[in-house]
């Protein structure tokens, strides 16, 4: 047996995008096992939501769980609170929630792709992808009034309407982005250097994905067709606005990039459909009810299944709020995915996992 070395990476490291700590055990350059610690950013958000804030304020608190999928958190929380107070939100609010979720997915996927490019040593592609992402940040700001913490979904509906000029701006931007996305797909699919770094890197099989309960693009890249948008039409009508599940079979970093790129096409089509068929109605359902009983909600965040559990006790303060972020479900598979890979591939593999520790540790 070759001599084994332990190599720590993180909590702060040039190639790590998130504050987590990996310890790689290697034989020569091959990774044989990995452990992780994720405790660097725990902020006590669940505790705060059940002690410091009234249930209507909690949507603004959970919007701060994550800077990349804030809308997924606020929407999931709003939905679970609406179940507890037993209200149906107006149709327009449903479609506007989906609009922002899909715009958010596009910017989040582009961010991940840019980091995959950067960590694979392709700086120019990193900058190009970030430049395209910027346009979607501007669109989100135009729709929500904020680039990161949207505070768009609130209990009962949404906080802002979509102005006609902003709708036109989105349609125009999507039209321009189509050819830019085609160009990105061509590079990610066919560039020789990226292929060398990403093909077979951090691969997991469909069986592994199933065994380890993997979610999101990570699972879909391995051929496991799981997507909450396909499974739950009760609260938001995803299939009606053109959702189509995307899968690949490679299970590696390369396939994960392809899944994200192809999902951007689907999100663009959904955004267009939502704008073209946006129903007229109020934006919010008013009620003075207090949350009672327990409820769960799942939503497909950019990284996969986001799960909210809430329990009310007929007061303004929730009894319990539990958040399960997508990266939390993927921790086991992330660790197994490193095994057998060269240590030098770690940065590109981590970027392809697209982990979010802000969500995971809360």
């Amino acid at each position: 047996m070759a001599k084994q070395y332990e190599i720590p990476v993180g909590a702060q490291h040039i190639s790590l995008l998130e504050p987590l700590h990996f310890k790689f055990t290697t034989e020569n350059e091959k990774i044989v096992s990995t452990t992780a610690n994720i405790y660097y950013v725990h902020r006590g958000i669940e505790k705060a939501c059940c002690t410091k804030f009234k249930f209507r304020q909690v949507s603004f608190v959970v919007g701060r769980v994550c800077g990349l999928c804030s809308i997924s958190h606020t929407t999931a929380y709003s939905q679970v609170a609406e179940k507890l107070i037993k209200i149906e939100i107006p149709a327009r609010a449903k479609y506007l929630r989906m609009l922002v979720i899909e715009l958010d997915r596009i910017h989040s996927h582009l961010l991940c792709l840019s980091h995959v490019a950067e960590n694979s040593g392709f700086e120019a592609l990193f900058m190009k992808t970030m430049q395209y992402r910027e346009a979607f940040m501007e669109l989100l700001e135009a729709v929500c009034g904020n680039r990161v913490q949207y505070d768009f979904s609130i209990v009962g509906g949404v906080a802002r309407d979509l102005k006609p000029e902003v709708a036109m701006m989105i349609i125009g931007r999507l039209k321009k982005f189509k050819s830019q996305l085609d160009e990105l797909v061509d590079i990610f699919q066919n560039n020789w250097t990226l292929g060398l770094k990403n093909k077979n890197a951090g691969a997991i099989t469909r069986e592994d994905a199933m065994r380890l309960n993997v979610v999101g693009p990570f699972a879909r890249a391995a051929g496991l067709a799981v997507d909450v948008r396909n499974e739950s039409q009760e609260l938001l009508p995803w299939i009606e606005v053109g959702f189509k599940i995307i899968t690949e079979t490679g299970g590696d970093a390369y396939s994960r990039s392809l899944v994200r790129l192809r999902e951007i096409y689907v999100s663009m089509r959904m955004v267009e459909n939502i704008i073209n068929g946006l129903p007229e109605s109020a934006l919010i359902t008013e009620t003075k009810a207090f949350p009672d009983g327990e409820a769960v909600v799942r939503i497909e965040a950019p990284r996969g299944e986001l799960f909210y559990y809430a329990k009310g006790n007929k007061t303004q303060i929730l009894e319990r709020l539990k958040i399960k972020a997508p990266t939390f479900s993927n921790v086991s598979a992330m660790l197994e995915g490193f095994e057998g890979n060269e240590y030098g591939s770690v940065p590109a593999i981590i970027a392809s996992y697209d982990p979010c520790l802000s969500c995971t540790s809360r």
Binding site: I38, Y39, H42, M210, Y309, R320, K324
Partner: protein, 113 residues
């Protein structure tokens, strides 16, 4: 959400009978502090229609050691480690210090903390 009541003694048997990786995925483990007792919940979701969420629920007293389900659901260790830190319960083969730093006060999600 479909609740299935169980006990700590029957937990592994009940989940073992139910769980098939090709039909269900494990979502997360949760705990609700009820005062003198703690309700533990193990959430599973269907891969196929009707895409229902199934919750196995068991009430315990805080001093009881809970069996780990990692022999049935290998990825459940993450959720178990989280609850050991946040709720300050004891779970078989699970140590503290994954979600909270080892010197952090245990069980911040317990009532009164």
């Amino acid at each position: 959400m479909k609740r299935i009541e169980t006990t700590i003694q029957n937990l592994k048997k009940d989940i073992g009978h139910f769980y098939q990786p090709e039909l269900y995925h494990f979502i997360v483990m949760n705990a609700v502090d009820l005062g003198e007792k703690i309700e533990l919940q193990w959430f599973f979701g269907d891969y196929t229609e009707p895409f229902e969420i199934i919750a196995f629920c068991a009430q315990i007293t805080p001093d009881v050691e809970i069996p780990s389900i990692t022999s049935i659901v290998p990825s459940a260790w993450v959720a178990e480690a989280e609850l050991v830190d946040l709720i300050d319960i004891r779970i078989e083969n699970t140590s503290k210090g994954f979600v909270l730093e080892p010197d952090f006060e245990s069980g911040p999600l317990r009532k009164g903390k």
